[in-house]
Symmetry: D2
Subunit: 452 residues, 4 copies
């Protein structure tokens, strides 16, 4: 959900603002974060003696209950000065009694908005991490259960050689865990600088105030104000875009495996996935929605990166342009991950169909090991071309590849019928897939795999 | 405003959802458009005899009052099937009495959503056109009033040769009018195809039904269903992105001209543009907000274009991914234009400051005509280098450029003191600027210039 | 190909710079266009008497042979002044004899670069149009040949109801033709303004000079200089992005239909589509490459749109940032279209496989007409749910859908065995597909369909 | 430079492919990386006994000299199979003698291309790091030299309160160092999986082979193949986009400070920055080019992120789509940084102008401390409004702010003339700027600051 509105209303909200992340970036969440920031500033300025303790307590009390503030009215007043902190500070003053004169001490609007943005991001990240953890666990569970389930490997959407569904699923899990790790590693710093970033109104205690606020709010400290050095926003953008991409890859695999002609997986949600016109359809709705939500990410990342070009000590537009896209990117990525979780947790795997799809093409899949076997005789190019020709012959004449190959006189030395049969058996060779799954599962955090 | 929420609440809404366009793309607007589409379908199917007239009337009546439907509930049910049309059709059925069995005749969800999307776009476009018309009028008014106001031309943000503020402003007006023309030229077609685009449930009358719906809803007709041929969405994306760019260019010029050191324009809104920390500031808040809103456009356009790659007869995600970005793009562009309108309509132009800024550098600006004058003697390169050197000398020695040039013995033939003084006068030459303004104002629609 | 290099070298060039468009945007093409622009300027300034005819002829002669200029040297010198026109003008002067003093009369670098950019775009557009024409012809040919070939309609990548391959193909053709029409409609204007856009060095004849250049170069005239009003660039970006999207949609359909399990089409290029590791593979290489090239477009469009925010009379970076992305966008779109042409012109359609894939699911596809039939009895929602339940029962019990339905007591009134059989036959109903194909083919330009 | 061509030719190459990074991503660099990868594979497969040592040495020898291979011919052949590895392997075989049968053992094209891509990225990153180090050093040098140079802080491009040029410059240095740190932290892994990622042709030794290759090539190891889990590409995209943003912010500040009316800095390159039409101009060409190159980044990042959605075990287009955009992103970011280095290393700072610009507005700048001083009396809102009103009065009447304020009767208690003068002196208060500079310089790596 975008910051300006509640996610609970709206035609598309349940589709496009799914899961717990959206609620962490809506208007109420931003308001809470702004109030928390002003409260932390009051406490910190009191601690260093810049503000009387009573006054600070008045501010803290006035900031305790977000529901006492009218978002809509604040939003309207924001239009006059260009940001919502200006009217919010006035509203806090009215409620802070004797503390009113000490609200927002020495700070500028951007200090409070940037710190609140990091707070919003931190809370949304916590929710997103939980969703990703569940996605990883579901994929890891599939990987463990299907460690040895053979399925066709597909390259350029054509059957290649076999792999295992376990290896596919552990690839999903590992990538999603990689995203969670990247998100967790991002520093989300407090911002405090005053009107031009010099901490001029803090009597030399500004850096202390900033550090205390960071500790109070659970944010990283930032010795240097970062008002127009937007690396924290770019870090978030990059990691969220990466996460959306990993979610999208997994969801695409689900959609492709669920195609009518492939039929190797199916989303198992009772009641979901129907069609208004076609009652027989069983659509992979969750994976489709995951792809839809994730597809918004690259454009939002580009917007946030293009906002890094900020003028002097406060940008004339590029700063204001971050608020909604960052909220949307958090919400979209969170929504995509939440849908993927549903898809994976209820994914029904049709092991028999996987095997049947493979057997239809298994003799052709012998091509690779056969070519490998005759390479010492003919060189890589020659071997490749000969096998490709043999496949064309087999297809055109309705003969088996085995028969065509055995008929070729040049190959009799290296390719006895026994050796060929051995190679054809090898067509189901899945190499080190099992060990790769085991190793990868072991390298996931225990939380992800404890479900098994 | 994004479709899932009301634009009236929220901390950032008045900043980021400014002007009349946002309300045309919110959840209520989408719901109205969906209901209008179902009503038009009912009327059309009745006209060709596929549905009884009474039944159709029941549907039309049930679709008349959007407030009878609960967006939030519809949104929640939408999650099961992947789009809000499925529960909406059921909700209409409940209200349509005997018409219930004839709601949504032969259509698929996408038919209704795509048509509603075009309807939403058409209504938002009308609102946006009105805002753009006002922007053009304001810029044209400035151009007419300042047809002959000399101002420094600036290239790479350095003083170049003079131009007029009229020419600057008529350039804004012409570009904005060009955007309005592009938007107006876009075809917004009805979509009707049925489950797979074959119009299979219309007994051979499908194309007629589609045409009648188009006429009824004021949309373009589309002989061929365009369910996965998303040119109308791409057309909108391109024209909106172009509009946002033209708005942004104008707003940037305002911000640059309003810089403290330049001071040639100022936004004249009483009360607006203040700062929470710095009471002396007079920020060009409207232009800043216009830039902020416009900056979202390129990323949103990229998202919509990347959504064109749609599978078969309905995309598994890329279709669903269009709804919010298109709404956001309409709202952002509309918001940017609305802020620009406010900026331009109250723009205060400081003619004296324009002249003063120019005079500070006027003798240097003689460089171009002087170089032109001595080119026949020295060649373009030689002339350019000589004048550049003379400027460096003048700067370094605190001498006037005139004195330095007259001292150069080689130039005495072509550059008499009289000729040089003539050239220095030419430094305020604004060429054909006046005629360019006149021609350009004449080529604007009369509506744009009637205000003058 | 990007402008800075020749497309003939390089590991990826044959893949990523395919077809005739790339050669129209390389360094040599840009150089030709720059020289053509200077020549046109010389002719036009001579025509209005600003430059002696002999001198102009000297300039024209000096601009006639691009191979006389050293791109690499010009490129190197460009770095000093920020664009290649500065050294190019000096190089022309050296070759223009007495005309040397009259090269580039009254123009600024941007005039020449912008006009040359439009010339490059015009020539690349001509090449692209030819490629698109061939794509449309190939798709139209497929549509005509397969007007009545039944194939499964697929929504969300699941079988829906049947359609025809003709209708799919005519959808491709119509969208691609729509792109060609959009590209053809774009105005590509000459740019002439002088140092700050006032035409100050043309003695009042600047607009005439500009018009004459436009006519000479085959460009649109532009009464008002557009140096920082970048609508022509945005127009190109939008139409090229749209074209890439339409190409990509078609290529994706080919890739999906060519999947091993689907097998309904195959790219018929002898020798192409092999794999280094897997000789049995027959990859749809051309469609894959079309998708790869097209995928670059949305990001490039976003870049060009974000470049519209240009300062004052010449941008400090955003102008320079256009040259390569626009060249890349033309080349990528051209490459994508060229690959698609190869894919479509040699596409082998497996009509039997289309029918076989359909029959596997035909009884389920009866769901839609059956639900339609019983809607009067149960309402839309009830009918939908009942049929969905019947399908689940049939699947679970291995019974036919027909048997399950006939066993339901409530339905006996509306669903006699005769009616049900009729409905099951209707499962292959393709509605108005044939007429839609006929209409759409008729609406294509005759060039596109003359091949048939 | 794009991979398909040499950066040394071309009209725009010296502008757009500046500095050492471009040469690390051109066609020759890619070819070297591909050959290095095949050589490493040969060595590793020999080490585990899969390939005879003599044969491996033949391969290694054949891969030693990239100039023996014809890029253009390889590029042409690449078109048949969809990537350049297929013809390259054949070309190596021809040169490898007895080793010919053992080239590319068990690998698939993607293994080699992905590993080579990481190698290209690693080498380009090393070059970029060097450029960034120089940028940081130049900015740090400016910060140290101008630790106490007072300059106007500017927010929304309006004068705010003072800051120091040292604090501005150390902000640039810290952000650029942050980018260098992010780039250095990225893991660039080897890729080895074989035809479908199972390591099926390595007799159980595949993971060992992969690890040995990583060590050999100086890449990170990757226990699990990442063929369609594109996190390494996304990591690069994010960090490069972030770097381009930080470069762009710095370059924008330079361009803004160099504006004619501001004149606080100037690029000091002898000979550079001229204009073809205006000899008096001194353009900040390097900063302008830095902005131009950096502006390409967000769109390229979006393209790479949108390529993450890759099908199954090898993507049908999205994989091929990465090669050029990643090369372009490395080159663009490298070019931007190289131009910024030139800008910063020769930046001339006009300390007097900084002070003069400030004094013009200093009495207005007293607004903030005055408001702070009277807040206990009037509350924040009241104080703000009163001072804003006093400024309006001072401006309108041509009176000094001091006089206006002293005349206000309500303020006499808190605002004696002495206190007011004290506050007006405070207008040059730069708070903790000096300490912030000292701390930030200390936290930079010693390499960056050793120049001082």
């Amino acid at each position: 959900m975008r910051p300006s509105s509640s996610p609970s209303d709206g035609l598309f909200s349940a589709l496009l603002c799914h899961g717990p992340v959206a609620a962490e970036v809506d208007g109420a969440a931003w308001l809470r974060a702004l109030l928390d920031t002003e409260a932390a500033l009051a406490r910190a300025t009191a601690s260093v003696g810049l503000v009387p303790h009573d006054a600070a307590q008045g501010v803290v009390d006035a900031c305790a209950d977000a529901s006492a503030y009218d978002q809509s009215e604040l939003g309207h007043s924001a239009a006059l000065g260009g940001n919502p902190v200006i009217p919010l500070v006035r509203a806090i003053e009215e409620r802070a009694g004797a503390g009113g004169a000490h609200v927002h001490h020495g700070a500028t609007s951007q200090d409070v908005l940037d710190t609140a943005m990091m707070l919003v991001a931190a809370r949304a990240r916590a929710a997103l991490s939980e969703v990703l953890r569940a996605c990883v666990a579901a994929a890891a569970e599939l990987a463990a259960r299907h460690r040895d389930t053979v399925v066709s490997g597909r390259t350029l959407m054509q059957h290649a050689v076999p792999t295992t569904f376990g290896l596919k699923a552990v690839g999903w899990a590992t990538a999603l865990q990689g995203c969670a790790d990247r998100l967790a590693a991002i520093q989300l710093p407090v911002q405090l600088g005053g009107a031009a970033g010099t901490l001029a109104s803090y009597a030399g205690r500004g850096r202390e105030v900033s550090s205390m606020m960071a500790a109070d709010l659970g944010l990283a400290s930032s010795p240097l104000p970062w008002h127009t050095a937007r690396l924290p926003v770019a870090d978030l953008a990059g990691a969220l875009g990466t996460t959306a991409g990993a979610v999208s890859k997994t969801a695409l695999d689900v959609v492709l495996l669920a195609q009518t002609e492939v039929g190797e997986v199916r989303e198992g949600h009772a009641g979901a996935g129907g069609s208004s016109a076609m009652p027989h359809k069983r659509n992979p709705v969750a994976a489709v929605q995951a792809r839809a939500a994730a597809r918004r990410a690259p454009g939002l990342v580009a917007t946030l990166l293009s906002c890094m070009e900020q003028e002097h000590e406060r940008a004339a537009g590029a700063w204001h342009a971050e608020w909604v896209p960052l909220s949307d990117l958090l919400a979209s990525t969170g929504t995509a991950a939440a849908w993927l979780r549903e898809s994976l947790e209820a994914l029904e795997v049709d092991v028999d169909r996987m095997r049947a799809n493979l057997d239809d093409r298994a003799s052709e899949a012998a091509a690779a090991p056969v070519a490998e076997a005759i390479t010492p005789l003919l060189g890589r190019a020659g071997a490749h071309d000969l096998v490709a020709e043999a496949i064309r012959t087999a297809r055109a004449t309705g003969t088996s590849l085995r028969a065509v190959l055995l008929r070729l006189p040049d190959l009799s030395q290296v390719l006895t019928p026994e050796r060929l049969d051995q190679l054809l058996e090898m067509t189901l060779d899945v190499g080190e897939a099992g060990s790769l799954v085991d190793d990868a599962l072991r390298s996931l955090p225990s939380a992800a795999t404890s479900a098994r």
